[in-house]
């Protein structure tokens, strides 16, 4: 068996085993369906209510995308400012670290109160969740350039913008993508958390409704849909990373 095939087959085997154990436990211990449904029941619900789930996945996906885009763009811009104006960094970076330690889930109700019940608060929550990890990584990526490469640029009389575009930006890309991969799934979490609070549509709203109705089939199916979307989002970022970062990052 080729190494590549093995790498694909092993996790798949693990997943199928977990599903099998799940089904077996539910069956043998006679666990009622309203507490834990069997995977077969979840799969059936997924097929039966596919249109409902898809209709609710759409706003969640849109909010995650928008939040991901806005949050990361803002942190990349701020990191760029930080790297060029040390005083700004010294003033705001410690503040950013403090703000980061506020659990976003706890701020979500405040944002919903402030921004109303449409898409805006969800996008803002998703953006906030993406913002800090990317900011920290981007600042690191932009500033951790090889000091001798920086001296080389000075020997070559390079301007600040040349140093930025030819050295710092490339240097930051591996750090940026490491953050983006985390941000992709985090933005989905942000959107869902936002939808928990008084929303009528979206995977988050579906989760709340299904829970109140003891409709565990729908609950698990909604979670599965969010999970698949989140994985696909992350995989897309990994794919982009392989296209963009073609060099080996460990050599500076």
């Amino acid at each position: 068996m080729s190494e590549r095939l093995k790498q694909r087959l092993l996790p798949l085997t693990a997943l199928l085993s977990i599903l099998a154990i799940w089904a077996a436990v539910v069956h043998w211990f006679d666990i009622p369906e309203y507490i834990v449904p069997s995977p077969v029941h979840v799969a059936r619900t997924l097929i039966r209510d596919f249109s409902v789930i898809l209709r609710n996945l759409w706003p969640t996906a849109l909010e995650s995308f928008l939040g991901f885009f806005i949050g990361n763009l803002a942190s990349i811009a701020l990191a760029t400012v930080f790297v060029h104006w040390k005083t700004v960094e010294q003033t705001f970076f410690p503040l950013a670290i403090i703000i980061r330690s506020i659990p976003i889930v706890a701020v979500a109700p405040i944002l919903v109160l402030m921004l109303g019940n449409d898409m805006t608060p969800k996008v803002v929550i998703a953006a906030l969740i993406c913002f800090f990890p990317t900011l920290v990584n981007m600042v690191k990526g932009l500033s951790s350039v090889n000091p001798q490469a920086l001296e080389l640029m000075k020997v070559l009389s390079a301007s600040k913008s040349e140093i930025f575009f030819k050295l710092r930006l490339y240097n930051s890309l591996p750090y940026l993508f490491a953050a983006l991969k985390i941000a992709a799934s985090a933005s989905v979490i942000g959107a869902i958390v936002g939808e928990w609070i008084g929303s009528t549509e979206g995977i988050g709203a579906l989760i709340i409704q299904a829970t109140y109705n003891f409709d565990t089939g729908l609950l698990y199916a909604a979670i599965t849909a969010a999970c698949v979307f989140s994985v696909l989002f992350t995989v897309a970022i990994s794919w982009l990373e392989r296209r963009v970062v073609k060099w080996s990052p460990e050599i500076g």
Partner: protein
Amino acid sequence: MSALSESVSVDNVSVRFDSDRGTVTAIESISFELARGAFLSILGPSGCGKSTLLRVVADLIPPSGGDVSLFGSTPAEVRKRRDLGFVFQDAALLPWRTARQNVELPMEVGDGANLAKGGPSASDLLELVGLGKWHDSYPHELSGGMRQRVSIARSLVTAPKILLMDEPFGALDEITRDRLNEELLRIWRETGTTILFVTHSIQEALYLGQKVLVLASHPGRVREMNEPDLPDERGLDIRESAEFVRQAAHLRALLETC
């Protein structure tokens, strides 16, 4: 003035840094003169400020006192005219650029594009450093010695009048180092550029330099300007000659009493 415009002149240069423990003198009152086209080795123990001295000549660190004149111009002027090349201990290649793109970097930044003076092409230079087949390789595909060759080619792309080298072979194994020493002498003869070469290896300093500037440490100052009586045309076997061995012993004694 004609003598000045034809030489590298370091006159009474000092560098002091402010640190937590007060002012630290990195180098003190260093002076020397070097004719255009010469090869000077700068030898000293760690902490003698040899890298600092090189960075003053390159206009990377401002001197606290004294003057540097490169062929009658200031280091800043020479740097802006692209008449100055610098090779670092770390090859400092940009990992996202191929060997050729790394060599071409100096022509893309600053005034590089405007100052293109019909100098050597990147391909010719990679040929010169023996990497003819590796134009399109990325740094991570090259060995440490090959990366340093690329960095030498990059420093030569502007056809500099002066080349400053800061322990460029310090991190390489001895066999690679020997080979690159030989090739550096060949490149020096072919290009006719003036070279200041910092090292802490006595063998390397003596083999490469027409002159060897020995520095003492804490603070860095000139111990001796040594002019060994060795033939200009030399191979690695010169290191077994009586004169070379005698000079090496002399330099070792100097360093031990620094």
